[in-house]
Amino acid sequence: MAERGASRRPEHLAAVPDSGAPPPADAGELLREVARGDEKAFGRLYDLVAPRVYGLIRRVLRDPAQAEEVAQEALVEVWRSAARFDPARGSATSWIFTIAHRRAVDRVRSEQAASERTIRAGVASVDTPYDAVADEVSGRLERQQVRRCLEDLTELQRQAVTLAYYQGHSYPRVAELLGTPLPTVKTRMRDGLIRLRDCMGTGVSA
């Protein structure tokens, strides 16, 4: 990526404030309101997190139709268990992505999904215009930092972490794919995450 990070642009290029549109809300606050049964707050929370929930699930499942289904399940689960979110344990977004990722992985591991994927592969390969824009925007704004941090990992750390997280493989499967002993894979997943954590910082999220 040769272009400059969007964040390096001059000050006057920041969003033009005005017009009484609601400011971007904090996911933690919204989730507290959602926990009290506030459907409107859930709508705002949806706007804030749905592209990432859907994108993450889609990345793991690689099938837009199934991703849509699982994203719906995950988001409804967020609504259902909102009262169980414990802010002492971390940010609302990370809690939400944990739910989304778990759902995606459960789906990807089920045998049933495998056959469904085969059937649907032919039907579901058409990208909507939304995808094109989403890819570009996320490319500009967000990928850079994550990529840079991932590039700082050793090859084995990176492979171990991304095969598990982005593709939903179990660690024995990752070990098999990488031709690496199980204990090594476990260790690389952990020290890879330690290094990523320190590259990205923790406790900050929208």
Binding site: A6, R9, A14, A21, G55, L75, S81, R188
Partner: protein, 248 residues
Amino acid sequence: MTTEIHTLVGAYVLDAVDDIERASFERHLRECDSCRLEVDEFRETTAQMAHDTWSVPPPWLRDNVMSEISRTRQAPPVIPEAPAAPPVRGVSRRRWLVSAAAVVVAAAGAGSAVYVVQDQRVRDQRQIAEAARVDQARVRQILAAPDVVLNEQPVSSGGRVTVASSRLHNAGVVLLAADAAPAGRVYQLWTIRGGGDPVNAGVLADGQSADVVVVEGLPGASDVAVSLEPPGGSAQPTSTPVADVKLT
């Protein structure tokens, strides 16, 4: 923290364990505060990896989810078994610094100075990322709107400009992905409404040819235009626009 089961912490956070391992690990977590802290921090880390993946969901997903939640009962809160950990909010930064220091020490002890060397660069990256994050939230909100409308136009000097606008949010996102501007020229964005004069919507830096800009109040404008201007931008376009996106 050194027990056998704890070696699964990375795999656990990445959801790379099976159900039995997950259950054993969670039992282990209930007995180990420092392990819980490690898990919580790793979860924030993987959440950042999720930022890397986003994709605009199909607009009807919102309606489907909203109608399903209106029929779905919420679960009651769980009473915590152990005394609650101190709240993260407000102290998270300090906590992070402490853990970063610990990592530096640990890495130095293991004969590696990698983390120490990277530290400054890491801090810079984080500042950049945080600055962008506020905008990102708004960008996401607009792109996820159920009524988002996309308009796209090639840039005559190469590349293209895409405008996503949402009446619901009374805002739009302009995405410029153009070829490099000629020497001594920068890209400048404009909005035009009701036949009036173009209004500046942002000037790109010298050498910058791609950007994402949130324009509040965009719906109602008739055009988003892009022109090449002297560095720093102009009060009014001084050349024929290289792109003019009609907002319909």
